[in-house]
């Protein structure tokens, strides 16, 4: 049968290309570029860039070359060629990234750019300073944070023509910082910002509606939905091709898209890369999509070590999966990484090497407050500097429910439970007199004797994002009175109960 060559050239190396035949069956797929011999006929070429899609119908009655302009995609970064961008936002970002409003040290800088977006149709602009509620903190040690800039809204260069924007640059010493968003209902969340020597870490945020605890809605910068650029020039470049690629890599990481074409891989591996964020995101994509390509992964790690240094927490976490992982003190994660995927690596490795999370390090202080965000690591915190929002009780509750539900699936246990239904009732009554968290664990202890597999703890640790030693400590939180009550209710000698607890704590 004769065939014709269909060539699809998409301007983005991360563009996902699909070709569907006249019955909408996919007959070809590629990333960045596609060359395919197909039977003569009608086809639909579909190009996806992040969440945006462009389609074109093609009559393949001869060889055809289809060039599809990359569709604009939404990004918190005011990049050229993205859909949520005003020219005045681009200009403001370029200008404010270049001039420090504050100076706290030398060697690096932080740039935060928050903006409103009401659409290109000129919907009535929403009032308010886009940086409202944002503060920048320096990470001194666990539990104690110094508010470097208690109110970025007060310090930023705010421009209110059209959709408002607020840009703030501060020169700082390299190291770990935190960006916090506080809402007026007293809740707050944070994410990590790490400044590598000689570089500017840029955070771009777009405002969104938050639902407050009291039912009101508040419009603030979307901290979890922001984007990060690491700039070697310490200014913002709206036309940086690799920044655009990094944005697409960020989307691919969170939405399970596969964009690692050969060309994309070359970009990630390029030793001359000027966008370390592309390297960090690319490394995670490699781990997820090409786990057997150790050589490429190690090359990216080598690049990142050179660009960002071994102290960068994301680099440290990634190195744990490299062919030459750090050991001893070099493997200790002191500060939270910026990416959730980096945190997940460290949590997974902590099953074998608990010392990855030193108990007094800032990382461990946030361990019980992690939110299920992506791709950035986010955690709850108090709304003022030094405030915390420890949620150990909630996590114990979750663990208790988990253990109790697991116990319900054990056939032999159900037979025993039928004989012990009165004991369960006693247990639940006991539980109601204690704190919610401990009650949850007590309920779960009913099943302890039947849970033998350390993999359970490993899985709990991984899903909850808890370092292994934190999980252990929570399970040890029962006091002697709790144990005594439980022992009597179940008819277990105390030494038997202690042995069961020790088995779970092993």
């Amino acid at each position: 049968m004769s065939s014709n060559r269909l060539t699809v050239a998409a301007a983005d190396v991360a563009a996902e290309i699909s070709v569907l035949d006249g019955s909408f069956e996919r007959v070809a797929h590629g990333v960045g570029r596609l060359d395919q011999d197909l039977a003569p006929g009608l086809y639909k070429v579909r190009v996806r860039i992040g969440p945006s899609v462009e389609e074109q119908l093609v009559s393949l009655d001869q060889d055809r070359v289809v060039t599809i302009d990359p569709p604009e995609f939404p990004s918190p970064i005011p990049l050229l060629g993205t859909s949520k961008t005003h020219e005045y936002h681009i200009a403001a970002a370029v200008e404010t990234s270049s001039t420090a409003q504050d100076r706290f040290g030398d060697g690096g800088s932080i740039f935060v750019f928050a903006r409103e977006w009401t659409g290109r149709q000129g919907e009535e602009s929403k009032s308010g300073n886009p940086a409202e509620g944002l503060s920048l903190l320096r990470e001194i040690d666990a539990d104690v944070e110094t508010a470097l800039v208690p109110s970025l809204a007060m310090r930023a260069d705010v421009r209110t023509d059209g959709d408002a924007c607020a840009g703030w640059r501060g020169d700082v010493a390299p190291g770990p910082y935190r960006l916090r968003l506080a809402l007026t209902d007293g809740t707050a969340s944070e994410r990590a910002i790490f400044v590598a020597p000689g570089q500017q870490t840029q955070v771009f945020l777009v405002r969104a509606d938050y639902q407050l605890l009291d039912g009101r809605t508040e419009r603030r910068a979307n901290l979890s939905g922001g984007a990060v650029v690491i700039s070697l020039s310490q200014t913002f470049n709206p036309d940086d091709r690799r920044t655009r690629l990094a944005e697409l890599a960020r989307y691919a990481l969170t939405q399970s898209r596969r964009v690692l074409s050969e060309v994309m891989l070359e970009e990630i591996l390029d030793e001359k890369t000027s966008e370390p964020m592309l390297g960090l995101l690319g490394a995670h994509l490699l781990l997820r999509d090409e786990p057997d390509d150790r050589q490429s992964f190690d090359r990216v790690i080598a690049n990142l070590l050179r660009l960002l240094g071994p102290e960068h927490p994301d680099v440290l976490a990634l190195r744990l999966r490299s062919s030459t992982p750090p050991v001893g003190d070099d493997a200790c994660l002191l500060s939270p990484p910026m990416l959730r995927a980096s945190w997940d690596i460290a949590v997974g490795e902590s099953q074998r090497s608990p010392e990855i999370f030193p108990s007094e390090a800032p990382c461990s202080a946030i361990a019980t407050r992690i939110l299920p965000s992506a791709p950035w690591l986010m955690w709850r915190t108090g709304s003022s500097a030094g405030g915390t929002d420890d949620r150990t009780d909630v996590i114990l509750d979750i663990i208790g429910d988990y253990l109790k539900a697991r116990a319900g699936t054990d056939m032999s246990l159900r037979q025993i439970r039928a004989r012990r239904s009165s004991v369960i009732g006693i247990l639940e009554t006991l539980g109601s007199t204690l704190s919610t968290a401990k009650a949850g664990v007590l309920h779960g202890l009913d099943a302890l004797g039947w849970i033998k597999d350390p993999a359970d703890k490993s899985e709990l640790s991984q899903v909850l994002g808890l370092p292994a030693y934190v999980l252990e400590n929570m399970l040890k939180s029962l006091d002697p009175k709790d144990k005594s009550d439980l022992s009597q209710a179940l008819g277990l000698p105390s030494h038997v109960l202690e042995n069961i607890l020790k088995r779970l704590q092993r």
């Binding site: 006249g22 149709q121 509606d209 605890l213 979307n222 939405q255 299920p372 992506a374 709850r380 993999a455």
Partner: protein
């Protein structure tokens, strides 16, 4: 039956601690009706569990609101018990051939891996939820079923601050080939819209499009089956047709679903007698009179007329076509199917 198909359908409108929805229960009921229909999902009603708000008393105290997590997790316990019972009879550790999971309500999905659907007792301080994707993955990985299909029509408000509850069933080493298909109304902070439906009820645009496809409009042209590939294309082409112009302009509103389809298989087999769904097409030539024809995807004529009328009305199956009007040129067009907010079949207008 040892290996019966099973279905869990959850639709929650009443959230005393957050905000009340209008269409989640309707979506769940509609899906339940289809999945238990012998001409649809063909799940026996005794193996289909429907959990909806109206089955429980309305309360104002969120802590007492139902359905809570335990009601939903009881289904998974029953699944595991069924597999264990089969295993005890040396039939193998397997609960059934196919599992259908449908969830509608408030939800969150910062990423597809970390997504969940809120239970009725959720508040913004304690965001109780079911990690639907994690459950689907666990039941797929452990071989409780040969096929796991998940539909999630959630994220109707932006929810943050949730703790994921991990699946409590222990992972089993896989022993045979399994397949899965997941489709989500929204992810990555986008919102899944509820709209007034032609029936007069309110429902999610994702579920309305999904059911339209499952009821036959998403059939694969060649096999007549509704396959994972054909349903994916149908959802992606048509979900946006139920959105208002304002929603189409809003970047925060999900216009295409997120679909995870690593395996190709038939979701609904081809019926004995396949009635290919047809959709209206209106070809408008610049000038009527010359001969014209419609070519299909293989350049074969499907319709030819000696004189093209001023408005040429056609009924065509889904696919890609070329309209040719002698002396005036040709135009490629596609018939993707779908329904309009009025309930009418979506019409394609082709100007040549």
């Amino acid at each position: 039956m040892a290996f019966a198909d099973r279905a869990l359908i959850v639709g929650i409108d009443n959230y005393p601690g957050i905000s009340t929805l209008s269409g989640a229960e309707h979506d769940a009921v509609s899906f339940y009706d289809w999945v238990t229909d012998p001409a649809g999902g063909n799940v026996a009603s005794e193996h289909a569990v429907k959990i909806v708000s109206s089955a429980y008393p309305t309360v104002t105290d969120a802590d007492n609101a139902q359905p809570a997590k335990e009601k939903i997790e009881a289904f998974f316990t029953d699944v595991d018990n069924a597999a264990a019972a089969n295993n005890a009879q040396t039939l193998g550790f397997k609960a059934g051939k196919r599992l259908w999971l449908f969830f509608s309500g408030h939800g969150f999905a910062p990423s597809l891996d970390h997504s969940g659907v809120l239970t009725a007792n959720a508040t913004l301080r304690r965001v109780h939820n079911i990690a639907a994707r994690m459950w689907a993955d666990r039941l797929y990985e452990g071989g409780w079923f040969d096929e796991v299909i998940l539909f999630q029509d959630a994220c109707r408000n932006r929810i943050t601050g949730a703790d994921l509850n991990p699946p409590f069933l222990r992972a089993q080493p896989p022993t045979r080939v399994r397949r899965r298909f997941y489709a989500f109304a929204a992810s990555n902070d986008k919102l899944a819209k509820e709209v007034p439906l032609p029936s007069g009820k309110t429902g999610g645009v994702f579920t309305a499009t999904l059911l339209d496809g499952l009821r036959g409009h998403a059939r694969d042209q060649r096999s007549g089956a509704i396959t994972t590939a054909s349903l994916k294309v149908y959802l992606r082409d048509n979900m946006r047709k139920l959105l208002s112009p304002t929603d189409l302009q809003n970047d925060d509103v999900a216009k295409i679903p997120e679909v995870f389809d690593p395996d190709l298989f038939d979701i609904v087999p081809s019926p004995a007698a396949v009635a290919t769904p047809l959709f209206p097409v209106r070809v408008v030539p610049r000038q009527p009179g010359p001969a014209g024809s419609i070519l299909d995807g293989m350049f074969q004529p499907v319709v030819s007329v000696p004189q093209v009328p001023q408005v040429w009305q056609l009924q065509l199956p889904r696919g890609i076509y070329k309209a040719v009007v002698d002396g005036f040129g040709e135009r490629l067009f596609q018939v993707t199917g779908g329904i309009e907010p009025t309930g009418a079949l979506s019409e394609v207008i082709v100007n040549v």
